[in-house]
């Protein structure tokens, strides 16, 4: 008992000392972290939490944000949309956080977004997605279809041929991404020879593989989400489907090329704004720091890099605004020069859509599952929302738009 209370006292002492380092009036900046640490999506999202912890530790070691320490308030959202709603209310109302980093699946983002609007909070969505969210309460650091598909599909059509077959997860992400694929394939003179939507959680693809063989495409666009659907690669490999694949979501998120036996992902092409194989000084430094803190991390994926860079974006926003109020932060965004050098390249916030520009790397999985990068595209803008008529510096519709449901012309 004595030992216990003594160690409690010394722990308190450590806490006080740590607090003292930030001076007397350094009230912490609280960052809510709602990510899936269990359930079907955990595989791709545990790294995001670790990346945020790494960035927070670095920032605190270097004196915090504007002299204030960064404090993380973490909840495990369990890959469950209703948990997102519960915990989003909790961090905004009870924990009174200054900003929230939240969400993997688009379904979860759309589940929590009205709550962020209701409390006029600030949420970062650090994930690649189907695009179109025009909402002043959101900053999106992940890549969107115009960044990933307008680079990927012309490359695939040129190198492999014009006939395209899409298999996509059957929810808002897959449906809207598939719409983007249809449009960009048509713009580049290609033909859709087939399209199939797969319910989340489906793991048996024998018939789908046969449907693809019957349609004879030149390559397959895979927009599969979750660990169950990833079984497709093993089964397509075993059936010797042998078609090149293109994806905006695989490899960069679920590191399928590390989990499956070669050569099941041979000739998979993915446009990513980061994967750990990228051979640049910034990337190598990031991987080194990450593995030093989390030696058992199976893979450092694109969303981990986005989350890490997002903490630094937030730091810059708060320091330049000298405030954590959303209105002050948005004034800084409106200046249009908020940029950080992320592990994969420079990322700048676009004031109109509050999305982020990226260096897009084309990752090619070879037959031994190593990754090479045939090309990359610098400073690719998230242009679609701005061109379509979303301008958050003028109005805030808080809507998600799609190519077939664009912003109203006078909006």
């Amino acid at each position: 008992m004595l030992i216990k209370s003594r160690s409690a006292v010394s722990a308190l002492g450590v806490l006080l000392l740590a607090g003292a380092a930030f001076g007397q009036d350094a009230e912490p900046i609280k960052l809510g972290v709602l990510e899936d640490q269990s359930g079907d999506f955990a595989l791709a999202t545990i790294g995001k939490v670790h990346a945020i912890q790494l960035a927070a530790e670095e920032i605190n070691a270097a004196g915090g944000i504007d002299g204030r320490p960064l404090e993380l308030v973490e909840y495990d959202t369990q890959s469950d949309n209703t948990r997102y709603q519960e915990f989003m209310r909790r961090v905004l109302q009870r924990d009174q956080v200054d900003a929230v980093f939240a969400g993997f699946s688009s379904a979860s983002r759309e589940a929590y977004r009205p709550i962020v609007n209701q409390f006029d909070g600030l949420a970062f969505y650090n994930n690649q997605y189907e695009g179109g969210v025009c909402d002043a309460n959101m900053i999106v650091t992940g890549a969107v279809p115009e960044q990933q598909f307008s680079t990927l599909l012309p490359y695939m059509i040129e190198n492999y041929g014009p006939n395209v077959y899409t298999i996509a997860a059957d929810y808002n992400f897959g449906q809207i991404s598939a719409e983007w694929v249809r449009n960009i394939v048509a713009e580049n003179g290609g033909t859709m020879v087939g399209e199939e939507f797969i319910p989340l959680g489906v793991s048996q693809f024998s018939q789908t593989i046969q449907n693809i063989q019957a349609a004879k495409p030149d390559f397959v666009v895979t927009l599969l989400v979750g660990t169950a659907q990833a079984s497709y690669y093993e089964q397509a490999g075993a059936a010797n489907l042998g078609l090149p694949m293109a994806s905006s979501v695989n490899v960069g998120q679920g590191y399928e090329h590390k989990r499956f036996t070669p050569p099941s992902l041979k000739d998979m092409y993915a446009t990513v704004n980061y994967v750990e194989e990228i051979d640049s000084p910034a990337s190598k430094e990031f991987v080194e720091k990450f593995r030093a803190k989390f030696p058992d991390e199976p893979y450092i994926n694109q969303e981990a890099s986005n989350s890490y860079a997002a903490v630094y974006l937030y730091k810059q926003l708060v320091e330049r605004a000298k405030s954590t109020e959303l209105a002050d932060i948005r004034k800084v965004i409106a200046e249009g020069d908020v940029c950080v050098d992320g592990p994969g390249g420079q990322m700048c916030i676009d004031p109109k859509s509050q999305h982020v520009s990226h260096t897009i790397h084309l990752a090619h999985v070879t037959d031994d599952h190593s990754v090479e990068f045939p090309t990359k595209w610098e400073a690719i803008q998230p242009y679609w929302l701005g061109q379509a008529g979303c301008d958050l510096t003028v109005s805030d519709p808080s809507e998600q738009y799609t190519p077939s449901n664009p912003p109203p012309a006078n909006g």
């Binding site: 269990s38 359930g39 079907d40 955990a42 595989l43 545990i46 059957d170 199939e196 939507f197 797969i198 319910p199 959680g201 489906v202 793991s203 048996q204 693809f205 024998s206 018939q207 789908t208 046969q210 449907n211 063989q213 019957a214 660990t227 169950a228 990833a230 079984s231 093993e234 089964q235 490999g237 075993a238 059936a239 010797n240 489907l241 042998g242 590390k258 989990r259 499956f260 036996t261 099941s264 058992d296 199976p298």
Partner: protein
């Protein structure tokens, strides 16, 4: 030739769906049919079989032995669960649902914490063969044979062995069986272990074709429950014909309109069956016999 290819490809897809339904359901059917326990941890026994067999392959065991090891490990785990959790709850069947659901969550999260979010697979063996413009995986044909073999072995076990006789007696009238000197506790324990072992067998057989994650069992659960609900309590009169009927529905609809249609078809079949045959196919057959 084209007709032949069409028939072959349909038979292959039917066999594939049938094998998945039979293998994922028979463990659940044994435990539910023989003991009345609805085992919501079924998926976790499947995961246990898959993880153990994959680890065994990584450790150098040949795949068939590794699959058997996976089944045995899941069976032993099942007997332990029966002893510790299920046995006190035989008089409270509804509570076993909650208890097994709790086990399922503990095992899933425990695996995530201890073994991490995924395990490196072993790759599907045996390659592929081509027929009429389509290429097929050889291993999937082996899965079909394994499904039929499993049913045959179970039938022999329940009708031709002393364990089968004792277990059927225990399930039918437990008190009389006990009075005749049958160790009913042992029979319950072995039966539960058999069900869990069958789940482990399914996990081991499908492990080379799937992504290995702590939640992998969940992707078997819909098919397993659909098959058991349609089939009813008897594994031979119920599970096997139910899997055959559902296999036809799933293969036909998925081939025609994609995976979504296949899933919808399975669920509509369940709704219709519950409406007109509340005790499933085997309930209907047994009632007519009686």
């Amino acid at each position: 030739m084209d007709i032949f290819n069409l028939i072959f490809s349909f038979l292959y897809q039917f066999g594939d769906a049938f094998a998945f339904l039979v293998l994922s359901a028979c463990g659940l059917a044994v435990i539910f049919g023989m003991m009345g326990v609805i085992n919501l941890a079924h998926g976790e026994f499947i995961m246990c079989g898959a993880y153990v067999s994959t680890s065994a392959v990584h450790a150098g065991l040949p795949l068939p032995l590794a699959i058997v090891a996976g089944a045995v490990a899941a069976g032993i785990a099942g007997m332990i669960v029966e002893l510790l959790v299920i046995r006190p709850l035989y008089q409270r069947p509804l509570d076993t649902i909650v208890a097994t659901w709790g086990i399922s969550m503990i095992v899933t999260q425990g695996t995530l914490i201890v073994l991490g979010p995924s395990m490196q697979g072993v790759g599907t063996p045996f390659g592929s063969f081509t027929m009429g413009g389509y290429s097929y995986s050889v291993y999937r044909v082996i899965l079909m044979i394994a499904a039929i073999g499993t049913l045959a072995l179970l039938w022999l076990m329940f009708t031709r062995t002393r364990f089968g006789l004792l277990s059927r007696a225990t399930i039918q009238v437990p008190h009389v069986a006990e009075a005749m000197g049958v160790n009913t506790n042992l029979i319950y324990s072995v039966t539960f272990g058999l069900g869990a072992g069958l789940a482990g067998l399914a996990g081991g057989l499908y492990a080379p074709t799937m992504t290995l994650v702590p939640t992998m069992g969940a992707s078997f659960m819909v098919e397993a429950f659909v098959t058991v609900v349609v089939g009813g309590a008897d594994i031979f009169l119920g599970t096997a014909p139910a899997a055959a009927i559902l296999g036809v529905i799933k293969a036909a609809l998925t081939g025609w309109q994609g995976q979504l249609a296949g899933q919808i078809g399975l669920l509509i079949a369940v709704i219709i069956v519950i409406r007109i045959l509340p005790r499933g196919i085997s309930g209907k057959i047994l009632k007519e016999r009686a």
